[in-house]
């Protein structure tokens, strides 16, 4: 009696573990398949002309340079606004904020910012930056919209990195006569830097791949030249992929897959860089 019970327990554990293993496999395989498939279909389209030329013949020929440059500018613009603000906010939460209702409200606000649908950010950017502040459909409006969307990612990651720095580091610095800001600036920030950089890259990665927030704030269907000022509209890789896969009839497949490949290389390259920095910092860390 006891023996059969034992076996059935073992059996249910084995069945359960197999089921979970299957679920993981079913989750992981499609991710790898998607990436491999895009590389396989997209690689033949990649040439110097594709990367450095303008689209021709209603985008059915030529290259995607303005979309690549546009995504680069948008990522840079997003970084200019969101990195200093996000790190400063993280410093406040990790080093200054008292445990009270106001701080709790900040945390709830950050969680909410992270959950707001990307298209709602687009609406907000349209209302505030494009119309109310009269920045127009521009790199500036789109970058500002993406910055606010990116902010919660950067704040959370940077705060976590700052909190991971042992309290004793701060105590020593203060006991040697350092002020609070000197302690943060010279001791805590350098120690937390790899974690902060990882968070920044992951935030910017999200901004680089997003389409909905820039749809009505800065993205252009087609432009014959590169943007000259922050007040110009811009092409962008994700929006370009959307356009050529839904709005242009008889679009050659290789250009679509080529564009998708450049986009995931850009985005997943950032992801890998973040993973690499994090794991290297963990290995080198002495505390």
């Amino acid at each position: 009696m006891k023996r059969t019970l034992r076996i059935s327990q073992q059996l249910s554990q084995r069945l359960g573990f197999s089921l979970l293993t299957l679920m993981v496999v079913a989750t992981i395989i499609p991710i790898l398949a998607v990436i491999v498939y895009i590389i396989y279909e997209g690689a033949p389209a990649i040439s110097w002309e594709f990367l450095s030329g303008f689209p021709r013949e209603g985008m059915r020929q030529g290259g995607i340079l303005p979309a690549i440059v546009g995504t680069f500018y948008l990522t840079l613009g997003t970084a200019i606004f969101s990195v200093p603000l996000g790190i400063a906010a993280a410093i406040y939460l990790a080093e200054y904020a008292p445990e009270n209702a106001a701080t709790r409200l900040i945390r709830i606000a950050i969680i909410n910012l992270a959950g707001i649908p990307s298209v709602v950010y687009g609406l907000f950017g349209l209302g505030l930056f494009v119309f109310f502040l009269k920045f127009g459909t521009s790199l500036l409006s789109a970058s500002l919209t993406l910055s606010i969307m990116t902010l919660p990612v950067i704040i959370s990651a940077a705060e976590e990195a700052l909190r991971a720095v042992p309290q004793s580091f701060r105590t020593v610095s203060v006991s040697l006569g350092g002020t609070r800001w000197q302690t943060i600036r010279r001791i805590v920030l350098p120690q937390a830097l790899p974690g902060i950089i990882t968070g920044v890259i992951l935030g910017l990665e999200r901004a680089a791949g997003e389409t909905a927030p820039i749809l009505f704030t800065g993205a252009a269907f087609f432009l014959p030249q590169l943007p000259n000022s922050p007040l110009d509209a811009t092409m962008a890789l994700p929006y370009h992929l959307f356009v050529i896969s839904t709005q242009v009839p008889e679009m050659p497949f290789h250009i679509q897959y080529g564009t998708a490949l450049v986009l995931i290389t850009f985005v997943l390259g950032m992801n890998l860089a973040a993973t690499f920095i994090r794991s290297r910092a963990r290995a080198k860390r002495q505390w």
Binding site: G16, V24, T27, A88, Y96, L113, V119, A212
Partner: protein
């Protein structure tokens, strides 16, 4: 200490504090602008016209029910995929996988989270929906089902990473205790670890659903965008249109200040309030749990 240092310290501290509060400012601003541009719709279109079943803006039909049901059916479908697969993967990664496998699986799942939604939508158009059409013998593969499948994939990383954190945070002693009294690892997972991580798991599910509800590009590209009421079980095999896709598809073409413009902002306001409700609920679950834990441990 010299005075200039004092002043600099003061100003920097102020700036840092202001940055800290900026998150509240932005949520407030977003809410404000959605109200400013969206609420006028309520004055221009009667509530009974808004809560109607026909969305056809060119002829001034602004019934948002088809969009609500569209979002609902796609999100439910996505949840049915993301919850079991996401939680299953989280349990596997946190409780079963050896350390080396864990170090591979976690970045891989994060990689899925990093794939731009437009890329998934693109593959949805070219690969998934033609195959669904043939496999299920449908007139078109661009259906709620295609949207649900892809949204499920998009929500999985959210569910996995939060649920995995929650499982990871369960103290080792709990598991050791269960194993010591003769439970199998499987029993320990189901009867001890999962219940202990309940609030985090619940948060993971809620935020995963929020992620699916708010996703835009993928659903716009693969659900066929037909604003029809999705009220029957087989609606999943038909084209639908979600709230997010409607905003994204139509905002580019409306006149600034028209009724159509205001209704699109109103839909944005509804989405904002949904996500607010989900996130406040999720964070209060975590907060309550933390309080309880503090009470027990003190």
């Amino acid at each position: 200490m010299d005075k200039s240092l004092n002043w600099r310290e003061y100003i920097i501290t102020r700036l840092i504090k202001a940055s800290g509060y900026s998150a509240i400012l932005f949520v407030g601003l977003i809410f404000l602008f959605l109200i400013k541009e969206g609420v006028p719709a309520l004055g221009e279109i009667s509530l009974s016209d808004l809560l109607a079943t026909r969305w056809y803006p060119i002829e001034d039909f602004f019934g948002i029910l088809p969009l609500l049901t569209g979002s609902l059916i796609v999100t439910i479908g996505a949840a049915l995929i993301a919850i079991p697969f996401g939680l299953g993967s989280a349990i596997f990664i946190a409780e079963i996988a050896p350390r080396w496998l864990r170090e591979i699986l976690k970045p891989l799942v994060e990689l899925l989270g990093g794939l731009p939604s437009v890329v998934l939508g693109f593959l949805g158009i070219l690969v998934l929906s033609p195959n669904l059409r043939i496999l299920l013998d449908l007139p078109t593969g661009l259906t709620a089902l295609a949207g649900s499948l892809l949204l499920g994939a998009i929500a999985i990383p959210t569910v996995v990473s939060i649920a995995e954190d929650a499982l990871d945070a369960v103290p080792r002693d709990y598991r050791d205790g269960a194993l010591a009294v003769g439970a199998t690892r499987w029993q320990t997972i189901w009867r001890v670890t999962l219940p202990a991580a309940k609030s985090g798991v619940l948060t993971a599910i809620m935020l995963g659903i929020g992620r699916a509800l708010g996703e835009t590009m993928t659903v716009m590209m693969v659900t066929g965008n037909a604003p029809v009421m999705a009220t029957k079980w087989n609606s999943i095999f038909q084209p639908v249109r979600t709230m997010t896709a409607t905003i994204a598809a139509e905002m580019g073409e409306v006149a600034n200040g028209s009724s159509h413009y205001h209704v699109l902002f109103l839909i944005g306001l509804i989405l904002f309030l949904f996500s607010l409700a989900i996130n406040v609920a999720a964070s209060s679950v975590v907060f309550r749990q933390k309080k309880r834990a503090e009470r027990i441990l003190s």
